[in-house]
Subunit: 126 residues, 2 copies
Amino acid sequence: MISNYYTEIRLEAHECKRSLNAIDDALYVIGGKWKLRIIATLSDGSHRFNELQRAVKGISARVLSNELKDLELCGLVERRLSAQKPFVAEYILTDYSLTLKDVLASLNGWGAMHRERIKQSLADQQ
Amino acid sequence: MISNYYTEIRLEAHECKRSLNAIDDALYVIGGKWKLRIIATLSDGSHRFNELQRAVKGISARVLSNELKDLELCGLVERRLSAQKPFVAEYILTDYSLTLKDVLASLNGWGAMHRERIKQSLADQQ
């Protein structure tokens, strides 16, 4: 039933291997529990560290700090001083992060669809 | 487990943007270190547990078992007996998992692009 799963993506066996690697690459950078949440939060605009920690519910300061360093290294997030006094550090998405638009849109679409499906299945049970 | 999760979601629904929630929903189901790797591996066809553990490099049996249970609960993976003798348990993607095609394609595209960017930036440094 699923043998043609990748029909549109897979051309040959090694091509499939390559796409698996590319997905791995993407997940290495933006996978895990927090990175896309941080990016989604910053897509609203720049945030100070504390604001960001409040917005990304459940993340500890230590983990947030590490995640932000990773995202900076990958060129997705920039740490800079705010334009106005008091000059405090704030985090902002880089232009490069715009390349994630399709990924975020597809996750958004799938998440919304999946939630509707669960709701429907809960309603059917009642 | 799923009903608890959705109770949680309902409570904070008014606080967050819908799209952030939808991305969270998606990441709840397919985020983390392993789930999409398992799905990508199973897109090649059904696998027994041991085959799957070998293919998804670095995953422990305990974690793989938990991840598979989660994926079954979400309707993405099915555990069934093989069609031929010896009848052993194997895992296969469900039709519902086909809905992830766009997500996988966008991650694949982004991962490939990002790798090229890194290669280019390493080449530029030399």
